[in-house]
């Protein structure tokens, strides 16, 4: 039986007073009216030393999420591969007169969590915890940022630990594929050619002296933003920031980071295949992609919706065909890695060894199809809604709001710009999806990496004639 929306509303009203009804409801109910997206408001303040403070209040749960972003990261001029992430990992291994274990103890006592990391573009030092102790927790974050110990013994220990992690990465076919993909898509000289963790040689060269000098040059309040979200008022944020970061001096010699625009666009060579051998592997890890797109592209919305259709959701074409229809894989996806220096576009899956060639054929056929056939209206609407309505769940926790502000900040965007971008995604047309695929997804200029049992998979891959095949070691 089919119900109109009117009679359906009447049934709900009746049910509310428990009037019996009969039989299952055989047609789907209509969607309710979508709630409006209200982006969290963000207050801005600045300390005399240049530190910017961004605050977004939501007192629902008595927790505060704090994050200190310092522009720089692995792209800092002169930073050796792996130095930025290693320095970030050393920040919480002793600071403010406490050793690594003493600092961990102090953080736990406050019921807080403290993390430090570096990306290509920035350092991110975060602390979250109960509002009641957050002033003290933020003090520990200031210790970590302003007074790290970088003791010789700690450096030696963590350097050794990193060497072991680099060895462990070689055992994981997924990590091998990811690293071989990056070093081939981005040529030597491009920052992303290197691994963020460096390699065993660069790790061996890390010293307390190099770490100290590096941090002294990048820890610059004028390049820093403190983001506080959750149960915190703008006045509290300013007071805490002034107390803990007010005397943060400018570095004697400040490091620089080249503008993203000065990084040469990577070449896009003819499609080629790189094989990494993993004898006896039951699955092949497949990475296919190319240098990505500038976040400021006027086609950002169209590219996002196009990718949702191609490989950005469960119902996307790549997952639907490789997993659901063919049973080649447990899952397949694609993504654009957006960052100021564009990361790659990558489509990836782990596929059964004996269907590696057939899986590659599916990827390339789908790249071609989204370029040549207009996307059907229902598929387009689903992808638009998945992005636009899905964003309603992105701002539930203090940590999510903090992350969203930081993510926009990376591109110099205010959080409020997100509303415009979502609105643009809601308007993307089939013609725009097709045009985006034609312009940005060129199947003749892709890098294919397969980590698997070469003896079994090579002949089939040769038969696809995708391009030259090369075997690399990792």
């Amino acid at each position: 039986m089919t119900r109109t929306q009117t009679s359906h509303a009447a049934v709900v009203a009746l049910l509310a007073v428990a009037v019996p009804m009969s039989a299952q409801v055989t047609s789907p109910p209509p969607l309710g009216a979508a709630p409006a997206l209200t982006l969290p408001a963000v207050d801005t303040a600045r300390l005399d030393n240049g530190l910017t403070i961004l605050v977004s209040r939501n007192a629902e749960v008595p927790l505060v999420s704090g994050r200190l972003i310092i522009d720089g990261g692995a792209r800092t001029a002169g930073a050796a591969p792996g130095l930025a992430t290693f320095t970030a990992s050393m920040l919480d291994e002793g600071a403010g007169g406490k050793d690594a274990l003493g600092l961990a103890e102090a953080v736990d006592f406050l019921g807080a969590t403290l993390r430090t990391s570096a990306s290509w573009e920035e350092f991110s030092l975060s602390v979250s915890g109960p509002k009641r102790t957050f002033g003290e927790a933020l003090g520990l974050l200031a210790d970590v940022a302003l007074r790290p110990a970088f003791a010789e013994a700690d450096i030696a220990r963590e350097r050794d630990a990193r060497q072991a992690q680099l060895v462990a990465a070689k055992d994981s076919p997924g990590q091998v594929a990811s690293r071989v993909f990056a070093r081939n898509v981005f040529p030597a000289g491009h920052p992303m050619h290197e691994n963020l963790s460096g390699d065993s040689a660069t790790t061996a060269a890390l010293t307390a002296e190099s770490v100290r000098a590096f941090w002294a040059s990048v820890a610059d309040p004028a390049k820093a933003v403190l983001i506080l979200t959750g149960d915190v008022t703008a006045a509290e944020a300013r007071r805490w920031a002034a107390a803990h970061f007010g005397d943060w001096p400018a570095p004697e010699t400040a490091a620089t980071k080249p503008a993203a625009s000065t990084v040469a666009s990577p070449p896009r060579p003819q499609t080629r295949v790189i094989l990494v051998d993993k004898p006896g592997a039951p699955q092949s890890v497949v990475f296919i992609g190319a240098p990505g797109v500038d976040r400021e592209s006027p086609d950002y919305a169209a590219i996002s919706v196009m990718n949702t259709i191609l490989g950005g959701s469960f119902s996307s074409r790549l997952n639907d065909i490789l997993r659901e229809q063919r049973g080649y894989s447990y899952g397949a996806s694609s993504s654009y890695q957006w960052s100021p220096v564009p990361g790659p576009f990558v489509a990836a899956s782990q596929v059964r060894t004996n269907v590696t060639d057939s899986s590659l054929a599916v990827f390339f056929r789908e790249f071609e199809r989204i370029r040549t056939e207009p996307v059907p209206a229902d598929e387009l609407e689903r992808a638009r809604n998945y992005n636009v309505l899905g964003a309603l769940g992105d701002y539930e926790t203090a940590a999510q709001v903090n992350g969203a502000i930081a993510s926009a900040l990376q591109f110099g965007h205010p959080l409020s710009r997100t509303a415009d971008e979502l609105a643009a995604m809601g308007r993307v047309t089939a013609a725009e999806v097709q045009a985006a695929a034609q312009q940005y997804l060129d199947p003749t200029r892709l890098t294919v990496v397969v980590v698997g049992d070469i003896a079994t998979i090579r002949r089939g891959i040769e038969g696809l004639r995708l391009g030259p095949i090369e075997v690399q070691e990792f």
């Binding site: 009804m21 299952q24 409006a36 008595p62 462990a168 119902s315 080649y328």
Partner: protein, 449 residues
């Protein structure tokens, strides 16, 4: 030393009542379906979380992995929502969904804007009531292949993945519901038939064996009305016999050695303990925190900071519905032999069993664990699943406060005692060495209980 959170969680603290609470209503439809509603009007989103009280522990002999395969089949369409409507409708509504299977239960959840609530409930109702009319061999075959791929990806093509196959039969005697891995064996997955699917559905996927939590920007009245509308005509299923709790004991150390294509050796210890909400599971949780919860925890400090012999060490207490165990996993750095790690771990456990944790260690662990309770109630999705979990384990969805209170009641001597009682005795040992380096393998002790 300070206790932070009791002051922070305020609310109804009077009379010793638990301070932490996620208020929820419980209603039961005539067909036995339990409906739990938690209203949280802070964001325009809703989570629907369905638990069927069946997991791999209820599988028949020769059909290991079936409960999880069945979970996959629940997404293959039902009479009025033919495949692939389920995922497509939800994505078009801006919602995400997934499911998971453990030894004791199978869960399904959707999460998205409140405008998608009715669609979520209708889809869940249709597959609870009308899954079989459109189920066929082709669907079973398709998801069987996908689950086999999942097994390849998570176990066979994963460094150290084989430990997941080795541990269950090592810890639990043949026939115990926990004596095989949830993912099952390739042979048993191959054997699963359409008839198995029909039988399993009729036995376990009935409203009287399910509980649904709806959490978010909704009202109880609205949810009840929708639940009545969509679920009331699903007939009650047969009475169900659940597996009985059964906690095995181990008479002596049991060692399994295996090689893998890896470059570092890995050790896993496992001991029998107690089931969820048993007498000692809270103390064992605190013990795990004191062993590896922080950088200055006993095993972390010893192995990562003092000896610097491991890539990582982790303690994992696992208290399930029928039985519990406690494991410690340590991965040696390149060339480190596992007996070296065993000696250090054994020494630290013996020391903790003799002297117990210090007052400072207890305070640190408690504050950290209390913070975890608070962190866990930040999302409607997380709250919905935990409400279902507490309901299944205790009969009461809002056991947040009770759970926190019993954790806080654990004393230093409780921790000392459970380490002595459970973690000094016989254990299962799985030793994974790099191919060609058997000299790195762990060893078993001569221990009698």
């Amino acid at each position: 030393m300070r206790r932070i959170l009791p002051l922070l969680l305020l609310a109804a603290c009077g009379g010793g009542a638990p301070a932490l609470s996620v208020s929820a209503t419980v209603d039961t439809l005539d067909n036995g379906l339990t409906l739990i509603v938690h209203e949280d009007h802070s964001a325009p989103i809703v989570a629907v979380n369905v638990w069927y009280h069946v997991g791999s522990g209820s599988e028949k002999p020769g059909r290991t992995g079936f409960a999880h395969l069945f979970e996959h089949l629940m997404f293959m369409g039902s009479e009025h929502a033919p495949y692939p409507m389920f995922d497509r409708m939800l994505e078009g509504a801006g919602a995400n969904n997934n499911g998971s299977t453990t030894t004791d239960r199978t869960n399904y959840y959707e999460y998205g804007p409140t405008s998608s609530l009715e669609v979520m409930l209708w889809l869940e109702a249709d597959r609870m009531g009308w899954l079989l009319p459109t189920m066929d061999e082709a669907k079973v075959d398709a998801q069987r292949d996908i689950v086999k791929n999942e097994r390849r990806q998570s176990y066979e093509n994963q460094p150290y993945g084989k430990v997941g196959d080795i541990m269950p039969p090592l810890m639990y005697p043949a026939g115990h519901p926990y004596s095989w891995p949830v993912i099952g064996s390739m042979a048993d997955l191959s054997a699963a038939s359409l008839t198995d699917v029909q039988d399993f559905f009729r036995t376990w996927y009935a409203p009287n064996n399910a509980s649904i939590v709806v959490a978010g920007d909704v009202t109880r009245a609205e949810v009840l009305a929708l639940a009545e509308k969509y679920f009331r005509d699903i007939p009650r299923g047969p009475d169900i016999t659940y597996p009985e709790p059964s906690q095995p004991q181990m008479a002596r150390d049991t060692l399994v050695t295996t090689e893998d294509r890896v470059q570092m050796a890995r050790l896993q210890y496992a001991w029998h303990t107690t089931r969820a909400w048993g007498d000692d599971d809270a103390a064992l949780q605190v013990a795990a925190q004191i062993l590896t919860g922080s950088k200055n925890s006993r095993l972390t400090k010893r192995l990562e900071y003092d000896d610097q012999s491991v890539v990582f060490v982790r303690a994992f207490p696992d208290h399930q519905k029928l039985a519990g165990d406690f494991s410690v996993t340590a991965q040696g750095k390149p060339g480190v032999a596992l007996p070296t790690l065993q000696a250090a771990i054994d020494e630290e456990l013996a020391r903790l069993a003799a002297d117990g944790p210090t007052a400072a260690e207890m305070e640190q662990a408690m504050n950290s664990m209390e913070a975890s309770f608070l962190n866990a109630i930040q999302t409607v999705n997380g709250k919905a699943n935990q409400l279902n979990s507490y309901y299944y384990e205790t009969g009461e969805p809002d056991a947040f406060g009770r759970d926190l209170e019993r954790t806080k009641a654990v004393t230093a001597d409780d921790v000392r005692r459970v380490v002595e009682q459970y973690l000094l005795g016989p254990r299962a040992i799985v030793s994974v060495a790099p191919e060609g380096q058997p000299e790195l393998h762990a060893v078993a002790r001569e221990v009698t209980p």
